[in-house]
Every structure is written in structure tokens, then in C-alpha cells.
């Protein structure tokens, strides 16, 4: 037994859990419609959308908040 106090000494355990596999629906951004308002970037609870509107599908859980918040309906949720 090496884990006195059940401490985790190796960092990165959260990053190893690729929560992207939890998705039923996947967000797809239509850049032709996008007005660069940054709503999806701001509202994403997982920090999975960057300012270039690239989506990190390794960790995106498919919650769909980006699609709901997009004022011009540029984000479509497609079934995986």
C-alpha cells in the first residue's frame, strides 16, 4: 500500500478520462452562419470550444448548450 491518505500523486487523472465518449449528440458549427459572437465559447461548461470555434471532441459531452445559446442557429447537434 503506497497511498497514505489516499492521495493521488500522479497528475492528469482527469485528462485521462475522455468524456467525449459520453455523447449521444455531437455539435457541428456552420462557419458560414457564425457571426463570431463567442457565445458558444463563453457558455461551454467544459471549455471545449476555443476562440477559433474548434471543438475538442475528446472531452465534449454533447450537452448542447452551445447550440441553445447560438443566436443564429449555427450549431447543429447531430446524432453520433
Amino acid at each position: 500500500m503506497t497511498s497514505t491518505g489516499a492521495v493521488v500523486k500522479k497528475p492528469g487523472s482527469t485528462r485521462n478520462t475522455k468524456t467525449g465518449s459520453w455523447r449521444t449528440f455531437k455539435p457541428i458549427i456552420d462557419m458560414d452562419k457564425c457571426i463570431d459572437c463567442e457565445n458558444c465559447y463563453l457558455f461551454c461548461p467544459e471549455g471545449c470550444i476555443n476562440k477559433e470555434y474548434e471543438i475538442d471532441y475528446d472531452y465534449c459531452k454533447g450537452c448542447g448548450i452551445c447550440a441553445t445559446e447560438c443566436p443564429v442557429k449555427a450549431v447543429k447537434m447531430e446524432r453520433e
Binding site: 500500500m1 491518505g5 489516499a6
Partner: protein, 383 residues
Amino acid sequence: MVLKIATANRAVAEAAKLSNVNVIPVYPITPATSIAEYLAKFVADGEMDAEYVRVESEHSAMSVAIGASSTGARVFTATSSQGLALMHEVLFIAAGMRAPIVMANANRALSAPLSIWNDQQDSISERDSGWIQIYAENAQEALDFVIQSYRITEHPEVLLPAMVCLDGFILTHTVEPVDVPEKEVVSDFVSTYKPANAILDPENPMSIGTFTDPNYYMEARHDMYNAMINSKNIIRNVNKEFGEIFGREYDFVENYRCDDAEIIIVAMGSVCGTVKDVIDEIRREGEKVGLLKLRVFRPFPTDEINAVVKNADKIAVLDKNVSFDIGGALYNEIKAKLDVDAYGFIIGLGGRDVTPEHIRKIVKETKKPEKDVQWIGLREEEI
């Protein structure tokens, strides 16, 4: 009688409803939360004529319970683990003020490390609070023991609160068939609480919860000690009457195939079901093994245990709790009170699943014991 399929939490809530409880001060905590939720629903739907008091912590829940009980109300609450630990000081006050409160405790491990899963460290750690403690093997027992507890706690010769312990998740969140008795029959059985002592009655004023100097404190504690001893007779009578009315007989202990057993396992709570199945298997292989299920932990039924285990060669005591350096609480009490060749096994802490292989290992280790206390089911690899 209505056979329902329900979780033990549901069964416990039904029992409180059937027992005509007047006041329910309760604070939610996993895995006891759904007891509070069912009761809230019963009250909101008008199925229960009770005062449901939402409080800000378990400490307050037990404080309100004492206050309500002191007005002569019948009180029920439920908690678990850290919630029970937070109640710690108030548990002693409830018992010391001789308030006949009944509480369900969903047994769960104590932090740290943080765990929401089952073991019995929480209630065992309140062993000396002056509460009667009864452990349920299944949802049916959880329901029956809550009903029985009102008759025991409110008896003038007892007046100590009672804790009905049910294993978290393993019972609280398992659905299984439960016989829910008829309302009228339970109402007759539990009757109404007629408080004579420690009651806030304007017609008959008395001071309760007083400051006690060294001239009186010890006598008050001695009264409690005697009340716990007296409770044995009351529990015995309530068991008998309950059996006659409801058709389910309970005793302080359950003797499962112990009469000719060379090795007897002693355990409390839900693990007893698994142990019984394993004993049936082992007996088919020709070995004489039995189970003594301890139902009542406080008062401690020394004579009843001794009557069952005295002829066995060896005793294996299972504890879902640990007192560091000396093993589980039940093991130590058996060693202290009985002249038997007993060995202690720590099992199932923090939700570690107790499998038939573990029980078989315990039987094997008891035959040729290497240590007084062993931990069963530890991971073998480094973590």
C-alpha cells in the same frame, strides 16, 4: 397485508407513516435521502398527519427531535454517516433526556478518504451514546424494526431512543418484496405515546434538560444503564407480541444452522443473507458451519449469544467497522463478554463488496487462525 416491491428506504418511510409519527425533523444525506423524500411526499399528499420540519443540519434535526419529543410528540428522523457524526453531541443529549426518538441510520462509511458507500463505522462509533441499536438484514426487517422500536423506546421502563440501522445502498437502494402491514393493525400495536416523564406540560410543569452537579450526574447515567438492561425484557415481550400479530418472529439473535455447528460466524446486517447462502453450500460439502445473526447490538444480548455459540469450536466475527489496533467492535465485545475461541474479520469497508469467496476464506482462516484479526477482501496489487 400488502406485498409491495420497494427499497428499504421506502419500507422505513412506510413504517414511520404506519406508526402515526407526529414530527419529522430531517436533513437529507446519501444514502438516507429518499427516506426524507418519501416522508415529505406522504405529508404533502395528506397521507400523513405530521409536522415535517426542514432544518439546516443534522445537528439541528436531532435538536428539533428532542424538543418535539419533550412536548409528548412521537418523532422520527433518518440520517447517515457524516450526518450521524454531526449529530454526535445531540445523540447523547437525546438519550440523557430520555427522549424516545426513533431514527433510521443508513449505514455508510466515515471520511476520510471520502466515501459514500456502505459500512457500519458510523453507527458503531455512536455505540456509547445511550441509544438502542438494531441492525436489519433486509427491507422487511427495517420496516418491522421501526414499528417495534416505538413500543420499546416509549416503554416507561426504557425511555431511551432507538436507532434502526440498515446498510447503505445494499438495503437502502435495493428493491425487493416487502410485506407492508395494514394501518389499523399497526396503529393498534404502536398505540399512542403517553409521556409521563420529561414532558413540557403547562398543567404539570417540570424542568427538563437541567444542569447537574456532581451530586446527581452519576445517578442519571446509572438510571440509563439500568434502562438499557431493562430494555431486554421489553424487547423480548415486544418481539413476542409482534410475532403473534404480524406473523414474523424476531429475537435478539437469529440462529441459522448453529445447533451442530463447529464453526459459527457472527455478523450483523445485510451480509447475513450472503452468509446464509454460503453456509448452505458449505454444509452440502459436509462442513458444519452456522451463522449467528446479531439483531440487537445495544443492549448487548450476551446470554442469547452464549446460548447459541457455547458448543462451537471456533467463532468468526465479522465487522464492517474497525477500532484501530484491536479489530472490530463486535469482535472485541464477544471476546470481552464470552468465553469462546473467537477471531475477528474486518470486511466490507467503504462499500467493498463482500462475496461468497470472502465468506469461504473466513471459514478457512478460522479453522487454522494465524492472527486474531484479519482484513478480508483487500486488493492484492499495489495501488
